[in-house]
Amino acid sequence: MSGAANPVMNLDPAQEDPAKLAEFESRIAAGVLIEPGDWMPQAYRVGMLRMAEHHANSEIVGALPEGEWITRAPSLRRKLALTAKVQDEIGHGQMLYRVSQDLGKSREDMLRDLCTGKTKYHNCFNYPAPTWADIAMIQWLIDGAAIMNQKTLADGAYGPYVRTMHRINMEEAFHFKSGEDMVLSLMSGTRKQKAMAQEAFDRWWGPSIMFFGPHDKPGCEQMAPMRWRMKVETNDSLRRRFVNRFAPAATDLGLVIHVCEKDEQGLVTDKRVDELCVPDENGNWGVTDPNWDEFFRVIRGNGPCNAHRLALRRFSYEQGGWVRRAIAGGETILPPAA
């Protein structure tokens, strides 16, 4: 479950061999997939690495809030499904770290950079999941957004990433359907269940709208990430499709779409009905622009759960150190006390 990062392209392609760069771009334009042994501009290599590494980090951190709920799942089937989902997400992380390794960064470096906050993961995983309904909404809305994004990433140009997306999407389809089933069950349940689902929906609708990243810059289609098919659809286009899919579905389910104010813990303190979230004459749904100050605050590490997520990840990394040392054949000691 993740949206991949917008690759940061701060290396100048003008530094590259013009003939090679022209050939590379013509191959991309012709729909040729780039394989690891092919020549590629350094900016492309670095951009793909950042994108794949951010995606891998997001898979790993994204499993943390869901893992907390395995022991409290409301039935055996839900417990099995959530356990399988968490296992899948960690597996996705392993596959994406592998793609990143081929682009030039060691797995150990990536794991350590995640622990120290040097590299980032998706902002939506810095929000709390205080009830079971939050797990349902994460799987319906966030995995739904991730599928929308990852279906387009599977049409990208870098062969290993594309192959990994195809494999990941197969499992994301289960995560999404399972979440959809949970939301539908809650909304066809008791008054208390419906209220719990509405409160969770209020917490997750905003992060879902922000999932696709900030508004597009003018001319983004001509910039390197899209020209090189690292991304194939703009943030705003993906967001529009998401709203057109999920806003009417939520409304038909009986959920009310609110614009919410949240406290420092990410819990809703005030809300009003989103009057803009209605269809226009063409059937396109509007939506109130999310709070982008909140978005950037979370990205910079000051969201409700940033510190806790990173601490838990670092705790796991340090706890697992003795296993890695044992595997490496070196001397090891007992694990640190939990």
Binding site: G37, K151, I327
Partner: protein, 205 residues
């Protein structure tokens, strides 16, 4: 929430010492049914091939029907550069197989971006000769040919159970399709459900 997750974590300023260098990269292939060719599944890192095979069974053997797994060190493969168009088999050089030569498994990639699929075997004295023979015999209609010494491939035992046969519908999208459809039908019109489903990943339902 578990007590571990509720605690206040305190850490040293620095991360503990690095522990990398203990694992190597392995390539994994899976077969979907007995006798079917092995298809590229992915990579993994492991300290040795025995553990790599165990990891592969857990990681790649459970996400789709799987009856057999092959694992080899990434360093053990030899392959042609990935061509833009189909390989010319004439660029390879065929020769008589000799029982005294090693056996090499041939994998081919039909188009760029496709996965590598087991295509056959050749016998040859070394990797260069094996690749050349593989190109000559199996290169037509492919963009890349890969050879791996059979003796370097770790394989699960024939008939060894990997894909569990108990009910796993809880971990498959299609395990939810009917109940989800029925629940939507109670609150939405059919055409709205169909419109909504357009963004599903269709081939997994």
């Amino acid at each position: 929430m578990s007590k571990i997750r509720q605690r206040d974590f305190t850490f040293a300023d620095e991360l503990p010492p690095r522990t990398d260098g203990g694992t190597r990269s392995y390539v994994v292939y899976t077969a979907r049914k007995d006798g079917a060719p092995h298809r590229y599944a992915g990579y993994l890192n492991a300290p040795d091939i025995a553990l790599a095979t165990e990891y592969a069974c857990e990681h790649y053997g459970q996400d789709e029907a799987c009856t057999g797994i092959w694992v080899h060190l990434a360093d053990d493969l030899t392959e042609t550069p990935c061509a833009e168009e189909s390989i010319d088999p004439g660029t390879g050089c065929d020769g008589e197989d000799s029982d005294s030569d090693s056996e090499w498994v041939v994998f081919t990639q039909k188009r760029r971006g496709d996965i590598h699929i087991e295509t056959g075997t050749v016998r040859a004295p070394d990797s260069a000769a094996a690749l050349s023979r593989a190109v000559s015999r199996h290169g037509a209609g492919t963009v890349q040919v890969r050879v791996v010494p059979m003796e370097r491939i770790e394989s699960t035992e024939p008939g060894q159970l990997i894909w569990r046969t108990h009910d796993q519908s809880y971990r498959l999208a299609r395990g939810y399709s009917k109940s989800v459809r029925a629940k939507w039908a109670a609150v939405r019109k059919n055409e709205d459900i169909e419109e909504y489903r357009k963004d599903d990943i269709e081939n997994h339902f």
